[in-house]
Amino acid sequence: MWDIFAVCCYVTISALFLYMGMIPDLALLSRKVRGWRRALYRALSLGFSGTDAEWNLLDRAYPIFAGVAIPLAVSVHSVVSWDFAMTMIPGWHSTIFAPYFVAGAIFSGLAMAIVLLAMLRRAYRLERYIRADHFDVMAKLLLAMSIVMSFVYVTEFLTAIVRGSPAERAVFIWRATGRYALVYWLVILCNCLIPLLALSRRVRRNLRWMIVISVAVLVGMWFERFMFVVTSLAHHYDPFSWGAYLPTLPEVLICLAGFGWFGALFLVFIKVFPSLSVTETLQGGHEDVPATNMEAAHA
């Protein structure tokens, strides 16, 4: 019940937020293109004309939507974490899970945004609009989230070792030293150590380095979820039920299909709809912001 409401509400509000921001763009584009796109954009722009009253309404709607969407984002990740935390399984039964999941979602979402922005920048020649400054700021946030994640890892490990039950302690030690130790240390490497490279300003402003760091974070976050799902189930209270898990071929294919669907839908979206806000670009172009070079990225 919780999951259905949390996920459905989050999807609905996120989709409406995205759509609302696109309405002025669709209205503008409907006057510039022909064919089926014109009909599509005109229908989706809902008659937006760009009057001052409409802009005032949009200005008012943005903070309301942001105020609704941000608590929803926190709640949806908290609710998903409570699905785990409310079980009695060692490694999951922890009060730190809600902030842990929220921080993890921001961390991996930011890494994904950096990778996608870098690809868009390269493919559509958007160097003038997506600048080194943007990657610099995102890298700082990524670094901050990496430190938060490191803090969470240390906190849950120390809590389990110092104050946890014997089963809890055993799971955490087994994670670091047992059959899945490679996964554990890969997670630490990708989520805690590699992002520290972003401490260097030169790295933060280098597109290739940022892609490497972001891909490492994505790999680390994927294996982090694998780690806490698999290791807790493979090593909980009853030693008779201890075992190992290796994904079967159908499971691997389902996982790859998930990546494929995401990629395909994303590509279709940026093919049909503007990947960059046209009206905000007009606004920014009016201020005539000079483009800066991304060091080494396009050398």
Partner: protein, 167 residues
């Protein structure tokens, strides 16, 4: 009823200059149509029913909350499962659904009110003016001015390098 005056501009700076000139002349009821949210958009005194949106969002939030309570309490009472003597109507677990539906109600109401209020606000701007704007141009729309001030208004609009004017 006389046709409104429409002046078209290629850039936001020219439109902003014209708005300033019109303001100095004390002309009221001036509206702007713009492809982007340039600063000039906020020079017409923030017209439109934008203040209503927050109230409508609040009402939508309360409606969402009421729906969540009705759904949770109604389903628990309709199917009362006794779990170890725990109360059938359990408010703490309801909290998540109540929060989610409150937010959903506020968000969906905001979106719907944006669409409806935008439609209503468009009715106050002549269709001819909305159609006159194409591409990246901006339009200033004002009520027809008669008498001595018409020359001054024309000069203010043209002085700001209007590309075209009507009527």
């Amino acid at each position: 009823m006389p046709e409104p005056w429409i002046a078209l501009y290629d850039g936001p700076d020219e439109a902003a200059d014209a708005l300033r000139s019109l303001d100095e002349l004390g002309i009221e009821g001036v509206r702007l149509i713009s492809p982007a949210a340039y600063p000039a958009v906020h020079m017409t005194g923030r017209p439109g029913p934008w203040r209503l949106m927050s109230w409508l969002a609040l009402i939508g939030g309360f409606l969402g909350l009421a729906t969540a309570i009705a759904l949770e309490v109604g389903s628990s009472v309709a199917h009362p499962f006794d779990v170890g003597g725990k109360p059938v109507v359990a408010w703490i677990p309801y909290g998540v659904v109540m929060f989610e539906l409150t937010m959903l109600g506020a968000g969906v109401t905001s979106f719907c009110s944006l669409i409806v209020l935008a439609f209503l606000s468009r009715l106050r701007v002549p269709k001819a003016a909305r159609r006159a704007v194409a591409g990246d141009r901006l339009a200033i729309v004002l009520p027809a001015i008669a008498g001595e001030r018409s020359d001054a208004v024309c000069a203010a609009l043209a002085g700001a390098s209007a590309q075209e004017g009507a009527p």
